[in-house]
Symmetry: C2
Subunit: 706 residues, 2 copies
Amino acid sequence: MEDMSKLQDELDALNAKITKQGAEVRQMKKDGAAAEKIGEAVNALQALKLEAGTLTEKLKGDEPDFNRKAFDDLIIRKMFVVPSFEIHGGVKGLFDLGPPACGLKAAMIDLWRKHFVLTENMLEMECTCLTPEVVLKTSGHVDRFTDLMVKDPATGECFRADKLLEDAIDDLIEKNPTMPTEEKEDHLRTQRQADAFSPGELDTLLTKYGCKGPSGEAYSPSFPFNLMFKTSIGPEGTSVGFLRPETAQGLFVNFRRLLDANAGKMPFAAAQIGNGFRNEIAPRSGLLRVREFCMGEIEHFVDPNDKSHANFPTVADKVLVLFGRDDQLGSGKTKKISIGEAVKSGLVNNETLGYFMARTQLYMEKIGMNPECLRFRQHLATEMAHYAADCWDLEIKSSYGWVECVGHADRACYDLEVHSKATNTPMVATVKFDKPQEMEVAKLKFDRKALGMVFKKDARTVSAALEALAESWKDFEPIATALEASGKTTVDGFEITKEMVSWEKTMKKVHEAKFTPSVVEPSFGMGRILYSLLEHSFYQRDMDEQRNVMKFNPQVAPQKCAVLPISSNPECNAAVDEIAAELMQSDLATRVDKSTAALGRRYARSDEVGVPFAVTVDFETLTDGTVTIRERDSMVQVRVPKKEVCNVVFDIVHQRTTWEQVTKNYPVVQVDEGDGTPAEKGADARAKTVVEANSRGRFSRPAPKK
Amino acid sequence: MEDMSKLQDELDALNAKITKQGAEVRQMKKDGAAAEKIGEAVNALQALKLEAGTLTEKLKGDEPDFNRKAFDDLIIRKMFVVPSFEIHGGVKGLFDLGPPACGLKAAMIDLWRKHFVLTENMLEMECTCLTPEVVLKTSGHVDRFTDLMVKDPATGECFRADKLLEDAIDDLIEKNPTMPTEEKEDHLRTQRQADAFSPGELDTLLTKYGCKGPSGEAYSPSFPFNLMFKTSIGPEGTSVGFLRPETAQGLFVNFRRLLDANAGKMPFAAAQIGNGFRNEIAPRSGLLRVREFCMGEIEHFVDPNDKSHANFPTVADKVLVLFGRDDQLGSGKTKKISIGEAVKSGLVNNETLGYFMARTQLYMEKIGMNPECLRFRQHLATEMAHYAADCWDLEIKSSYGWVECVGHADRACYDLEVHSKATNTPMVATVKFDKPQEMEVAKLKFDRKALGMVFKKDARTVSAALEALAESWKDFEPIATALEASGKTTVDGFEITKEMVSWEKTMKKVHEAKFTPSVVEPSFGMGRILYSLLEHSFYQRDMDEQRNVMKFNPQVAPQKCAVLPISSNPECNAAVDEIAAELMQSDLATRVDKSTAALGRRYARSDEVGVPFAVTVDFETLTDGTVTIRERDSMVQVRVPKKEVCNVVFDIVHQRTTWEQVTKNYPVVQVDEGDGTPAEKGADARAKTVVEANSRGRFSRPAPKK
């Protein structure tokens, strides 16, 4: 057997090379490099990936596989997730959540609200999904959220241009099995760059490969297709609207009201939970790439010159798994490091960003995600928008690999600035100084006549723009330099000449400063998190038959308690109803199972939907009023007076006590779920049972493969 | 002063006449009556309405007006609700919920889930908003959710045809001030029927009145415009989708999986909370008619032959205000009657429908709606869909009048049947008999050759349809009669002849029966309920200045507790932080106000957003560790050790104790909020204060005008 750790090192190094090569390809495409050059780089990338694939296969070795078949079967059978509109043939990329997933999602969102919104006094909003074009034009989505499409001019049908090219090449090669290797390679090279061609290049290639529409006519020239769902708002049909592709814009456009609602105080955060929509070309990977999805977004507005966070010390010692830019391009290895250190060393750009990364990690742990399957990956320079200061994705490992589930982006002042500009609305905050500060400013004197002659009605806009810059000499200096050097310069698209304005550098006492806040944006893909949690919660245990268990913790479990009668005797049933009613009264979702199946079978059914506790009414109940409470993962049972059941479950769910404590307060009974005979145990045996049970059920699950 | 109660009787009688006349007009339009006849009926209706308007004005008398200005100002200023995309010019009919409304809505939905879903073990789902055309074609929305539109052929602009006609007539009359009365009346009659004309009639009239598009060209012929937001799903742009106009269809199409998830047991209910979308022509009345709105829908599936409800006895004594069909057309007066009696007397069609009406009433009371502003109005026969068995709307009185907020409809088997037919999917449930039953059935014998020759590939569909009917002689009898009488009949659109099938009436022992369940559908307009609750919660009290209060109960209040220091002394601030942290730790949303405003001013601010309790840290806190807790509506304060604050608030919010009980457990201090001096009071005085305070704050609010 080969040395696994050496192999892992090799693989890590290879992955770093792949990342680097991938970044290069993207940069070349961005720079508009020659198609041939890009092709070569892509080929090199493919070769690296092939090599990595072989290594990964070798490394898989004994790692227990994730049992996808059993998992998928459970998910559908228990109606966690089902394809939408199934009986009508379904729609790709649309899924419905069934009862257990609905309960899970509600609990996840409730915890999200408490963990983020409530604890930090964030301002939560609910904005509309319908969004007018002007807003998404301003944000850049109308122009940049596109793929290239062509139309069959006869039928009006649309196609993705790069996919047509790819298919045409596949066809050509398939129809010519004797094609010389060199010629074939040439076609394949073209195929691999399909998504990198300009519209003109694509049109030429489609003609060259003889691509024709279903009608037999040549395609229209290729044109950009926007991935947003378009609709029309209002009866006239003239007002274009989109379904929002993210929830963030609703918060940005409300910035001024939010700042007012926060009494003008900075920093502060706004938050929103709601649906986003993206018309994905190729929905895939179950719940991971869908067309309608739930997001939770936070926009933390902060002074760009002071990105410290008051609560940072509370998380500074939290250790995270970080996969920094340099490590992705170098060692290929992640680092375990406290967020305090990471910010101090500059690996993570600032305290606010780091604070939210740590809080996200804590949230994931709270809802029951496996901490060993979490890492933060930094965006490479080539991945980030030009305005962004730093970005870290929380990635969760599932059977689909590492999947981006939460973005943490320092988006600088970009969003507020574009909306401010488009609407001519100041979107600034004010910082008051403890004592007045001396500041270098420019004192301007305009030649109003000169301004008016050139700019007419825009003269006031131009002078206001200059005045705004003049508030700080630092901002005005480049204008001054340019005007002195060449006699003219451009401000907000207006060409200013030296005749229009004169200035004087001077000092001014200021009591406050206005600034456009920076935005730090943690953005949660709730659907992806939900799916990952389902995978992380799934395990199988070997009993007489293999049994599926969902180990949701009591806080997120969709149902908190099952109540079962040992027999269909009316007295037993009455006790079951009484206990269930009391649990419901305390808002604890309860599952009653009076079916005639064996008790073990009924426990198994409740395990499958992740109910943490099962209360059984047996014949002892009828004589002494006690029942058993069984914990799902350890299968340990305690005997409790039925009047105390509700308090026990309530207190565990609300984290006022733990199961461990409960096993100390009440006698533990051990039941072999095969035969169902309870057997009282001593304190020592009890302690051992609990520990064993925990190490079996709660902490060890088969790790999903990479 | 006139006798108000006599006037009220007159008005009630008048309103009954209006209802009757309105129903007649609708029926005439439905039956395609002559335009002139309809015009006369509409005129009579207008006259009645005018009379009613005058009476209403008289009746208003001394009833304190709802202070809309103060209310609207508060709603916007405190950011309960703001127009969406305001800085970009906004969009009619779209509103965002700000922080306090978000919290309120989350609490309302949480209570809805607990009150309905959890307590009844309903199967909650979350289906997508994006819906493919076939589903809404099947439900009837594609064909029936329309208004008539015309287009300007040059510009492509669309207009509502009836509105154009109305405007043209207005113009004509305005431009001809000397027009003879008779001629004018003639035009006005046409105008009043604008929405009742057929497309052809409208086209003729638009031409007659010389209506032309903005381009100067004549309009296109009128065509139906669908009120659903249309989009295209998938990259091809060929697959039409809509934003769902209601959430119900997602549940209907999942019926089979839901029934499985319920282990095949009937009856059961599914539920869904989510957004619906309607492209309203004329959004109005603030949050009452918007284009994107939150709904909560329940589909209770039940045996059409047994609509009893197991839990009905738990609500049978609940008294509701019912406005039955006969009373709307007769006395014009509502009835106070227990739901048990209403079902028994046949006023409400069945137990299941009645059960949900009572549960809705209880929910409304739980969230703090004023019970005196709630009534159930039955649909008139002319309002109901042909398949519906009975419908009752919960109407809530606000300053806009009585507004439909929750529909309760017995929709019979319509929905499951249409989807079953469209998809060829059986959507039936099975009822097992305790002992086998003898049943009259038809035993069929087909002439397969005759069937095959006529129906080809559909032969099997036809024979299956006949076999389904043959399962009960009652269902097959009409077919048999028709075939015997005329030798042919139609089944599911296929013409059957006597040669194709022969039959025999016989008895059969059956152990179970299959049936298409009926659906009882309570459908909640959450946005309307939220708006109504805001109005019902608003009141003003006269202090030094008039102060606004939102009297949300502790269960729904967006923030549960305010914490204020009496001075900015660091020790006070530390105690505030400590108490706030403890409250947050218990998931109680807390509002800290350390501003330097006077204490009374800060109480007022927290009253405005409906915080039920305010904890004040004062100088006594620093010596003996006690703080005051002030109840918002009574303004009564108790003095409590600071360590006990969290438990007191937690227990009230979770209904484990009441404020009244708290005033018995802790010493009451009375504070004149003008000067802020606390004054200890004896037990008697305390009791009195509480009663007075309650009768002032909690139970008396200015009733909104009708």
